[in-house]
Amino acid sequence: MKVVPTICPYCGAGCPLGIKVSNGEAIGIEYITDHPLTKGALCPKGNAALEILYHPNRIRSPMVRERGGWREIGWDEALELLARRLMEVKEKHGPDALGFLSSAKATNEENYLFQKMARLLGTNNVDHCARLCHSPSVVGLRKALGSGTMTNPIPDLANSRCIFILGSNFAENHPIVSRWVLEAKDRGAFVIVADPRYTPTAQLANLYLPLRPGTNIALLNGMMAVILREGLADFQFIAQRTKGFEALRASLSDFSVEKASEITGLNPADIVTAARAYARSEASAIIYCMGVTQHATGTDNVLACANLALMCGQVGRPGTGLFPLRGQNNVQGASDMGALADLLPGYVPTTDDGGRRRLASLWGREDLPPKPGLTVVEMMEAAIEGKIKAMYIMGENPAVSDPKAGDTLKALEKLEFLAVQDLFLTETAQLAHLVLPVACWAEKSGSYTSTERRVQWSEKAVEPQGVLSDLEIIGLLGKKIGLWDKTFSPEEVLREIGLAIPAYRGITPERLKASTEGIFWPCPDQSHPGTPILHRDRFLTPDGKANFYPVSHQPPKEEPSLNFPLIMTTGRMVAHYNSGALSRNILPLSRYAPSLWVEINPQDAEEMGLVEGERVRISSPRGEVEAMVRISEKVIPGLIFLPFHFPGVNFLTLKELDPEARIPAYKVSACRVEKGGSHGV
């Protein structure tokens, strides 16, 4: 028996997961205790991960959809079909009629090769679900600090003296983070949680701020107004390392804590306490997540967070910084690899002629398409309009995860050709013309980049049965299309990544395999130890200085109305994972919540005459869904909460996009709750 080190396939924290292998079969999980992030800990999802490996619902053979249902076909036939159909569409309608969705679940190598394939085919229509969770962080933090990533490693939170948590429920979504927040608390840190819902994370707080949904900017500006009024800003830091402070000061001159209190619904004294605690402590960190980004003002929200951190000089030292917690095990890596419609590998904009040509020459081409492609939601719109004819989706489930799911289904059904590559026959795969089964995380090797920018190697534990890895499929497909003449090993691709992305230059397969704790990018050369803390001496902006961007509160795109009097917000729960493909049919997890539920305040429940466990119909102007009532004080009156792991929830959500980051405004939509689902009580 041996223990093979892999990286947990669920959230973005990147916890190591040892798989006990005996006679080529995975027989159990072992905890890896010498890892600095986890010290051996794993959340319930990590503990249940092995269930994926031998799950009876895994697809084991390529399948085409025919009138009578699914027909199993051989690998060669499947790849032939995929290549032929993609090329047909390309020749008939041009490359921009193709849409590619890459996967935040796949390795760096797979994402790199996937977007390379799309771009070599002549389109930038390649995107992935980072668009749906942290694209505002990428855009906003890049503008403000020069890098759209977490500034410090998670264990560094233990050095914080004040932790401000905004719109993040890490206790359920990234449980390992709570270890370090609690460690900081043990060492005397003050913990502030701002969230409209009293989550398990809020239970850890010294100060809990139940703000109204969609009022993050008002809270942050209110805090900054207090800090300026009381002279708590770090003026030395501002003078030496930032630009544009005067504009920010001017924009805040007519804002006050009273106004903030009016908009957010918080007690002004609490805002003042939070502001003082954050500004005065020697090291303050901001943790934020999708409660900040998933708004039509997502980028502005992120900029407001950055403004607060910069104003107080709480960046670039241990225990400080901004912690946007990424949701998937390789969402950071997939973004780094350029699986984004507007950015090439290494965050080079497609419109940057120099950077683009440099990459093109590495790939043996003259040039690559300069025009930014369509993002996740835009692709679906284009499909409805008939501009996109064929899509190739690698390991994503837009039918559940995209907003206004009614439109998504329409779009997917309208496609001339849809190929889906996944572990299970997901809601999206059921609409496909061709389904390709893939190897799961334990059946392939490759590198993953965690939310901390920690690049780690995950070893193959068992041989895949009947399936190929994403990398093998893309390699074979590219060979069939004629993009390259061989298939690639993960090691080969990682070396090419090193050539394409300066921040990965020093990260080689040999180094990764030899280290238990991985390497933090940027790592410019092979002797460089990696960079756990960014922005120590200079920011990653061209001139090395951070930028202030004044932002102001804007009301959410949809306000409650007579017909739809409640505000609905969505989020995650601990036992489920994203679109649910990796948790809804995993018994040890799904038993905690087998079906959709909705959290309603007792006051609202009483008004509507609802009882615990009753089935209700929730509708918004866009659709409706049935759920089971959970009456709970966790939500404030007028607010309901739904976990988005179940199909249907996104029938209700809003498709309004953030103007810069193109993220949909998932977090606030108006809705109503009515008694009586079709199944009765």
Binding site: Y31, A41, N47, A171, E172, D186, P200, V574
Partner: protein, 152 residues
């Protein structure tokens, strides 16, 4: 010897990691229960155990600060369930089941799964002295900070 599974309830984030891990280690049945209040409850391995007193077949045995359960001697009478002050013994149809402190893991020199897996560090497998010493350190910190603020 001298090690106990000790819980810091204020740290529990009700993530169910211990339950899932325990169930995996024990063939699908978890010997730990995470309650809605957000605290894991498991066998306390009492020194003077009530369950031991009612067990008439010797299926329960106290040895080295550990209440050991011998499944092969259990008749499934449910009397130990009725004796346990914590409700920490379960009945799987025909036989009782309870926490064995992951004896199979300890034989290999590994910690019990729940203590190792807890992401929030709420469960620890340590001796009472270390556990309390750590708590005193934490309490002392805020005490000392208060004194410092007073200017002493």
């Amino acid at each position: 010897m001298g090690y106990e599974v000790l819980v810091r309830p204020e740290r529990c984030i009700s993530c169910y990691a211990c339950e899932v891990a325990c169930a995996r280690e024990h063939g699908g049945l978890s010997n730990v229960w995470v309650l809605p209040q957000g605290v894991p409850i498991l066998c306390r391995h009492c020194q003077n155990a009530a369950c031991l007193e009612v067990c008439y077949t010797g299926a329960l045995e106290q040895r080295d600060g550990e209440v050991i359960f011998h499944r092969e001697k259990c008749t499934g009478c449910e009397l130990c369930l009725l004796a346990c002050p914590f409700g920490a013994i379960g009945l799987d149809g025909k036989r009782a089941y309870k926490c064995d402190l992951c004896s199979h893991r300890r034989q290999e020199g590994l910690m019990p799964a729940c203590a190792l897996t807890c992401p929030a560090g709420a469960i620890s497998y340590s001796c009472v002295a270390d556990f309390s010493h750590r708590k005193r350190g934490i309490a002392g910190l805020s005490w000392a900070m208060g004194y410092e603020r007073r200017g002493k």
